[in-house]
């Protein structure tokens, strides 16, 4: 009988680069940066790593296919290195693979690393159509990523009868909060606090999403070294140990895109993944039990909808929580404590591990007072890859021993 991942794996060390427009760096440079920080944090020798999972998404404008460019960049000594890709869930998938291989008892110490170099396209936003495949070229509507996610807003308004200007109020608050948090974080891409007035006056990207409703398109890398709790305690007897409580992934079945039941105003996958994650972690009331979270705020509306799909805000009720400051840094359940995708940045293949890094440094109280979450015991991270009607959701929950 399967018993899940809870408490079977510990995070021995983590690293994360400064995210942003890293004009000076290739993917390989970013990977070396997060890897060396991670290795130093873990306090082990590189040769003790027995296997590695590396995540990249847009390999077409990045390092190319396979794990080999990264195993070469990191000079990993002929260990098994596997490339993982699953849209924005890529890095969480790398972590999941690493954790499962440890939990299975196959390896003792495994590396998970995510890296993405997006700022070599020559234009803003994500790379375009080729990555979507030939069927998309023939039949997919002409949509950018903001265009896909913006439709959550019009569908949400239709579903719950919430006027579009109220939705704009709520998603503006989402961005104000993330900018405030990002401004405090030296590794964040966008480090400027922005007012609601500025956000609302910004040029429209995809109705009703303006410039500040969209996350940063960034370069960056994040990494984790995982091991068994026993080894972690042996190697680090004098500090808290961060353990994995749940790893949950859900991919679309096609029902949202083609069936007749989905309302376009929520993420079916996130709901399923969240339910399973709480079950795995033994969480009964996430609103009460979670200390903090990092969710997939690729766009402000995505965060608004996601807070309901994570079963934290009531369905149709995220507006009140957001406007009441429930998710602010000094709120009951701080969300995007490091600035989120919005301001920390979103190098696709690195984001999942960056989120876990944010939880990890809070749990180990390694952050300055001004951005510290009080009594942080349990953190949730959430990725959403793809489009609202066809996607993969990934959740990890980590906590103190």
């Amino acid at each position: 009988m399967a018993t899940g991942i809870k408490d079977k794996v510990a995070i021995l060390g983590m690293g994360c680069t400064r995210f942003g427009e890293r004009w000076e760096s290739f993917s390989e440079d970013l990977a070396v940066e997060s890897f060396t920080e991670c290795l130093a944090d873990a306090g082990i020798d590189k040769n003790e790593i027995q296997a590695a999972y590396v995540g990249t998404n847009f390999d077409e404008v990045n390092v190319g296919k396979s794990a080999v460019p990264l195993s070469v960049a990191l000079k990993l000594p002929y260990i098994p290195v596997t490339r993982v890709e699953n849209y924005c869930a890529t890095a969480t998938e790398a972590l999941r693979a690493a954790c499962y291989s440890v939990a299975a008892g196959v390896y003792d110490i495994v590396l998970a690393l995510g890296v993405e170099k997006l700022k070599d396209t020559g234009y803003g936003g994500l790379p375009g159509g080729a990555a979507r495949g030939i069927k998309a070229h023939m039949t997919q509507a002409n949509m950018s990523a903001p265009g896909m996610f913006a439709q959550l807003a019009t569908a949400y308004s239709a579903k719950w009868g919430l006027p579009m200007d109220k939705i704009k109020d709520a998603i503006t608050h989402v961005s104000v909060k993330s900018h405030a948090n990002g401004a405090l974080n030296p590794k964040a891409h966008l480090r400027k606090a922005v007012s609601a007035e500025v956000i609302k006056a910004a040029p429209m990207v995809a109705y009703p999403l303006g410039l500040y409703d969209c996350c940063g398109v960034s370069d960056g890398s994040a990494a984790a070294i995982v091991t068994t709790p026993e080894i972690a305690r042996a190697l680090k007897p004098n500090q808290n140990i961060v353990k994995v409580k749940a790893l949950s992934v859900s991919a679309s079945s096609g029902e949202e895109a083609m069936g007749n039941t989905w309302d376009g105003a929520h993420f079916t996958t996130t709901r399923v993944a969240a339910t399973r994650a709480y079950q795995e972690a033994g969480i009964k009331d996430p609103r009460q039990e979670l200390s903090m979270c990092e969710v997939h705020d690729c766009f402000s509306i995505t965060e608004m909808v996601t807070m309901e799909d994570l079963h934290i805000s009531p369905k149709g009720g995220s507006y009140e929580d957001i406007m009441n400051g429930f998710y602010d840094l000094d709120g009951d359940l701080p969300c995007q404590v490091d600035g989120g995708l919005k301001c920390f940045g979103h190098p696709i293949g690195a984001s999942g591990l960056r989120m876990v890094y944010a939880m990890y440094e809070q749990l180990l109280e390694r952050v300055p007072e001004d951005r510290k979450v009080k009594n942080a015991r349990l953190g949730l991270t959430h990725n959403l890859g793809g489009m609202p009607h066809q996607n993969v959701a990934a959740i990890s929950i980590v906590g103190l021993d």
Partner: protein, 485 residues
């Protein structure tokens, strides 16, 4: 009895006020001020002669089962492909595949009536029972030219057959003259013409009487017997003179739609015919004369069945659904006359994989999905495994057409980041009546008017144009249904 069973017109939704053209570029040829009256119909950026022919054909179907069609003929002088049968694309969009005779008619502007004649002859010979005849053109004059003022974009389509005929085909007379009043060489984008006076005095004023006289003599008819006389001639002075010379009875001359549409090339005489049929009464004799490299004169007589026929989407309704283009440069960009910065995102090299296009042709051309024979769930695109989680049957889907279904908008946006010649690129999820859902581009609309819950119909459009390989790629888009705009 053979003849016209049904007809449909298509005038693209956008119009350009000719004064707008003159204000922008009249400085170049001030003489065009004489033409700067009324509006010309302008195909949207995602329309061409093929898509407009499909739109007219769908309007013409009007309840006629498409499986009855044995042929699809397409007439145009602005076909997107020299090799790759354009009528084959039209047939595919009508979800006709395999056992259907198709042909492109081109070259001269009389290609439309020649296609109609060929269809009538196939009916008369008994080799085909029903044929879809389409004519469509999007001719270009150079900026500042008289042709730019005169030409408009439009299409007409007719189901011709041997039963339920509303206008019986009674006969025809044709002449051919290699009279190069207008011409385009094989590499030309723009029309060139010889002097107007020569075209008018020698062309229209000699050839039209020649072909009309030939028809009247052949069948022993007199002009005063005709209630509707359709002839192609855009010169107002020449029309006045011809009406006299031909003896066109008062009130029988049909409007050439120059003020609302413009001259629509190979579709011109047939668009005028579609308009005339809107008003025809049983027993009316109708004459149709085309002009271009010669003339065809066709002679019809409206039957009793023209009364009580289902409401066609004809010229009048198309004209009522117009939207004025607010500026001339938009037209220049849409017709690829003026280069414009669409952004580097648009420069990504996306190949058309022809083997994949063929594999998906029922979906791409016909908007054909599947319906599960076990649970009746409609799904688009067709699925091997039924999308209904309570069913999940494998390979139990049958072909199911979505192009003829209405839908409602479940979500939408206007996307400024997506590369488009008509930003913002509007898209939305369409839920079909009868089930099935897909994300589509929305077209022929402004973001301000789009709402969730709005009804849409499906329209065959050019999805992309690959300049490097000269490929027009097609798929379906959703158009908000706006009655009597």
């Amino acid at each position: 009895m053979i003849g016209i069973c049904s007809y449909g017109a298509y005038v693209p939704r956008y119009r350009l006020d000719r004064k707008t053209i003159f204000q922008a570029i009249g400085w170049m040829n001030p003489g065009t001020v004489a033409l700067a009256k009324g509006e010309k119909a302008v195909a949207n950026f995602d329309e061409d002669s093929v898509t407009m022919a499909v739109a007219a054909a769908l309007n013409a179907l009007c309840g006629i089962g498409r499986s009855q069609l044995g042929g699809v003929y397409f007439a145009s002088t602005t076909m997107p492909y020299k090799e790759r049968l354009n009528a084959g694309i039209v047939a595919g969009a009508l979800a006709l595949d395999g056992e259907v005779r198709t042909a492109d008619f081109s070259g001269g502007l009389k290609a439309g009536t020649t296609a109609m004649l060929s269809a009538m002859e196939a009916l008369a010979a008994g080799s085909l029972a029903k044929v879809m005849v389409t004519a469509s053109d999007t001719r270009l004059g150079k900026p500042g030219s008289p042709q730019e003022m005169i030409f408009g974009d439009a299409a007409a389509a007719f189901v011709v057959g041997d039963e339920n005929v509303i206008a019986e085909f009674k006969g025809s007379y044709s002449i051919t003259h290699d009279f190069a009043d207008h011409y385009r060489g094989q590499f030309s984008k723009y029309d060139r013409q010889w002097e107007d006076r020569w075209i008018r005095d020698l062309g229209f004023e000699e050839f039209v009487p020649e072909v009309v006289g030939g028809l009247l003599n052949k069948y022993g008819l007199k002009m005063e017997q005709f209630s509707q006389v359709v002839y192609d001639c855009h010169y107002p002075a020449a029309r006045k003179k011809l009406n006299k010379v031909l003896g066109v009875p008062e009130g029988s001359e049909q409007d050439n739609l120059q003020a609302q549409v413009g001259h629509c090339g190979a579709a011109q005489s047939l668009l005028m015919l579609a308009d005339a049929l809107d008003r025809a009464q049983p027993g009316d004799k109708i004459m149709v004369v085309s002009f271009g490299s010669g003339c065809d004169a066709l002679y019809f007589e409206a039957t009793e069945k023209i009364q009580g026929r289902p409401t066609q989407k004809g010229v009048a309704q198309c004209l009522s659904e117009k939207m004025l283009l607010d500026n001339y440069t938009k037209y220049l960009v849409w017709r690829d006359i003026m280069p414009v910065e669409v952004g580097m995102r648009s420069e990504e090299d996306l190949w058309t994989r022809w083997s994949a296009v063929w594999r998906s042709h029922k979906l791409v051309l016909g908007l054909c999905g599947s319906r599960c024979t076990e649970c009746c769930t409609a799904q688009l695109p067709a699925q091997r495994i039924c999308v209904n989680p309570q069913c999940g049957a494998v390979d139990k889907g049958e072909d199911y057409l979505f192009s003829d279904k209405l839908g409602t908008i479940a979500s939408f946006t206007g996307d400024m980041l997506a590369a488009s010649l008509n930003p913002p690129a509007i898209s939305g999820q369409v839920e079909f009546s009868g089930g099935g859902k897909m994300m589509f581009d929305l077209t022929d609309c402004n973001l301000e008017e789009v709402k969730t819950g709005m009804t849409v119909s499906m329209s065959f459009r050019r999805k992309y144009f690959d300049q490097k390989r000269d490929i027009s790629g097609y798929f379906w888009k959703a158009v908000p249904v706006v009655e009597g705009r």
